[in-house]
Amino acid sequence: MSSFNLKVNGNKVSVTADDDTPLLWVLRDELNLVGTKYGCGIGQCGACTVHVDGVAMRSCSIPASRLTDSDITTIEGLASDKLSPVQEAWKELDVPQCGYCQAGQIMTATSFLKQNPSPDNEEIRSAMHGNLCRCASYNRIEKAVALAAKKMS
């Protein structure tokens, strides 16, 4: 076990965990930030997506102890006093079914739109291809990313 500091959603937090503990489990079990979801543990489903220095990363596959110098943003930190444009788009189009994968979808979409603010449909499809939705709400995710881009422009 070792102790280290992380910066999560703008707050400095102290964590005690084994060096190999993935960020996912530190967020969920130590910091009680359970919006980041466990889906596969091997970076294949995208349910655990967070932002590390603004870039979408799979929190199940990065040890938290390596992120002491990074800014980490989770789904809980995305909205300030109001919902982000991506969250607004998700709400407006009534995207979720079970809802479990949606935090990861929103985090992937948010990071993607920062890099590509006016994507076409093919670019949206490619950007979101790594995030599984078992309920297959894919049509609405695709539309919501496009709507969010419009809201942000």
Binding site: R28, D29, G39, E76, L78, K91, C98, R134
Partner: protein, 719 residues
């Protein structure tokens, strides 16, 4: 078919009211009793207490309404749509309504179930009656206050108005209403007057979902709780011979290792520590039965199909005679693999069993049966059990089975600690209760340009088609008709998977119809309409589908999907299927890209009666269709020596964004009672796709997943 205004039960048998201590009215109703088709008063009403109620409406003295949704939410939208029905008849603005998940009541957990797309179908009458009764009580209370006849008062949007134009809000009369008799004669709204039903209402948990608030079983924690990872036999047919936990106990955070049955539980202070501890357990497994292979299952299922006499499930006329007299006979065998459910939220459950109480929390489609089984397992009274239902990260049938909840209960009972069992993805896929592998053999005869006989044989692992499935279309449409089934008993656990049996049966039959159409040189849609024209609705009580409704649905899909009118590069496929009391027809459009199909669009027509929440309803259809296409294309699951070949998403392929078609949904408009939507969109999708591929390439697909037969390049995941 039930007329939507005809209701047969007595409200007194299932509704009771009381004043809230904090001011306000509490209306309890026995959702289960109320949902029975011929509900009788279960006991003397005066002896009922609130333990017998499992669904509640709270009306606060400011007029705001809280509805406790009785049925589990697995993503099918009932937590939104069921309260909408109550709010409609209660006549309150939807903005004044908030919805909470009701807990399982310890005394009355007979049928709080999500499954079979039946929540809305069974709830429709009861929910409307409850809302209308509550509204009438508020009107009666206002009338008493004004000293006027209640029949001269009206209520709408949470406000009661009398003949003089005086008004009172619902909140102004809740305390008086709490003391009144439950009225017997209430009238229901006419569908033309609906203000909430038929309008889009977004998911009631939306804000929590998109901001990452705790909602799901996996998110639940309690003070002093231990995370538990369980080692289970890696192959079906194995048991524990011995184990050594020395390395596990050396893992930071691991506190305890206990064996229960042929499983070992690792308790730890974090999920990661529990999973790590499990990985380093040294376990000797020994075989305790057959270690089965998919190739053996293939042989066994073929043997069943070759057998002369199986279990006859429906028989009309004489198929053998028709075959003997036929101009031509067509026969085809269709094959499907096992399928895991792969809910995105892996199985998990919390249990805290103490001498005083049994506290259970988690995602479960069958809280009632599970609570009962746990009571038996740990030898406790059902009254001691308090089960809280969380939102579920998908169900698809997997959470009908309480195995994971029983594990949590057993471990908590053994260790006397609050525990949460968490399956890893590998555990979830390897300890599944799978859709069984199934084969269908269909044989039909043609004579004088007509289908004269149809003989379907089912060979399945462990169990066969249930209920009225043998009477689904084309039963009733073909004079000589026979359905037979048989099964092979395997030690691999199998169970319900979204649209059980019909998820593959529809593919087999709908593909076969296209072959018949081809042989008869008839358009594929026309063949189905011709067959349906042979069916007289209501003649055979076993035949639940309506030929008239199916014909209308097929015509709507053909019209909206521009059947037969697309450009030269687009190929179409058609399928229509009735399941879970809902009629669905689908047109799939594909193009070819280097000879490989690209699925562009699916146009869907649905007759589910009145559409309660259109946005939620379309979401179910979009998801069901893409799920059906995804599993038909990619779903593959096999066993070697009792062990599954895939245990995570690196090798098990689920459909992803780039492979998805655009789904366009149209509803047949009518005022018939609503039916479910969680499942019926799925069954026709695979058949419609196979038919489109056949029309494009000439290749006849008989085995799922199609990807193996199409021999396309491997998946290229972009992560």
């Amino acid at each position: 078919m039930k007329d939507q205004n005809k209701v047969t039960f007595s409200r007194r048998s299932f509704i009771r009211t009381s004043a809230l201590a904090s001011g306000g009215l509490l209306i309890g109703f026995n959702f289960l009793t109320a949902c029975e088709e011929t509900a009788k008063p279960p006991v003397d009403i005066s002896k009922l207490n609130f333990n017998e109620f499992n669904a509640f409406i709270e009306i606060a003295d400011n007029g705001y309404v809280t509805i406790y949704s009785p049925n589990p939410e697995i993503g099918q939208g009932v937590k939104t749509s069921m309260p909408m029905i109550i709010a409609e008849e209660l006549d309150v603005p939807w903005e004044h309504v908030s919805v909470k998940q009701g807990d399982l009541d310890t005394k009355n957990f007979q049928r709080q179930v999500a499954g079979g797309s039946q929540s809305i179908r069974f709830g429709w009458d009861a929910l409307r009656q409850t809302g209308a009764t509550a509204k009438q009580m508020l009107i009666n209370a206002a009338a008493a206050k004004w000293a006027v006849d209640a029949s001269t008062c009206k209520a709408a949007d949470g406000i009661i108005t009398n003949a003089n134009g005086d008004t009172l809000g619902y909140g102004d009369v809740v305390n008086e209403a709490a003391g009144l008799e439950v009225p017997e004669d209430v009238s229901l709204k006419s569908p033309q007057d609906y203000k909430i039903i038929g309008k889009d209402a977004i998911n009631v948990d939306m804000e929590k979902i998109i901001t990452g608030q705790p909602l799901f079983g996996l998110d639940y924690t309690s003070e002093g709780m231990f995370y538990v990872s369980v080692a289970r036999p890696p192959a079906f047919g194995q048991k524990i011979s011995s184990f050594d936990a020395t390395a596990t106990k050396a893992v930071n955070g691991v506190s305890e290792v206990v064996q229960f049955g042929d499983k070992i539980a690792v308790l730890a202070s974090s999920t990661w520590a529990a999973m790590k501890g499990k990985k380093v357990l040294q376990i000797e497994w020994t075989s305790d039965g057959n270690l089965e292979n998919t190739s053996d299952h293939n042989d066994e299922l073929n043997k069943i199909l070759d057998r002369k006499n199986l279990d006859v499930r429906r028989e009309d006329g004489n198929v053998e005679k028709a075959f003997a007299e036929a101009d031509k006979i067509i026969e085809r065998t269709y094959e499907s693999p096992f399928l895991p459910h792969n809910c995105m939220e892996p199985m998990n459950f919390y249990a805290n069993i103490t001498e005083e109480k049994v506290h259970l929390v988690g995602p479960i489609q069958t809280p009632a049966g599970t609570a009962r089984r746990i009571a038996n397992l740990i030898n406790r009274n059902e009254e001691d059990i308090h089960l809280e239902m969380t939102r579920m990260g998908g169900g698809f049938g997997r959470r009908l089975y309480g195995d994971f909840a029983l594990e949590a209960a057993e471990i908590s009972n053994l260790t006397k600690k609050p525990v949460k069992v968490v399956f890893s993805r590998e555990d979830d896929m390897a300890a599944g209760i799978y859709r069984p592998a199934i084969k269908y053999r269909i044989k039909a005869s043609l004579k004088d340009g007509k289908v004269t006989a149809y003989h379907l044989k089912e060979a399945a692992i462990n169990s066969n088609m249930y209920g009225l499935i043998p009477h689904f279309f084309p039963a009733g449409a073909i004079e000589n008709y026979k359905v037979e089934s048989g099964n092979y008993r395997s030690n691999i656990t199998t169970g319900a998977w979204r649209a059980p049996y019909t998820n593959f049966l529809a593919f087999a039959e709908q593909s076969f119809f296209d072959e018949l159409a081809n042989e008869l040189n008839v358009d594929a849609v026309q063949l189905r309409l011709d067959l349906l024209s042979n069916v007289e609705d209501g003649k055979d009580p076993n035949i639940q589908y309506s030929a008239k409704r199916m014909i209308d649905t097929i015509k709507l899909a053909a019209e909206k999907g521009k059947w037969g009118k697309t450009n030269a590069n687009t190929y179409q496929g058609f399928a229509a299927y009735y399941s879970h009391n809902t009629h669905v027809a689908e047109v799939v459009d594909i193009t070819l890209n280097n000879g490989q199909p690209k699925i562009e669009k699916v146009t869907v027509a649905v007759d589910c009666g009145i559409v309660v929440n259109p946005t939620g309803a379309k979401n179910q259809i979009e998801g069901g269709v893409i799920d059906g296409i995804g599993h038909a294309m990619y779903g593959d699951f096999s066993f070697e020596e009792g062990k599954p070949n895939d245990v995570n998403f690196n090798t098990y392929r689920l459909i992803r964004m780039r492979e998805t078609p655009i789904v366009e949904t149209h509803f047949v408009e009518n005022e018939l009672s609503p039916t479910g939507l969680g499942e019926p969109g799925l069954p026709p999708a695979g058949g419609a796709l196979a038919n489109a591929i056949r029309n494009a390439t000439g290749q006849i697909l008989t085995k799922q997943p199609f990807i193996k037969e199409l021999n396309t390049r491997k998946t290229d995941l972009t992560i």
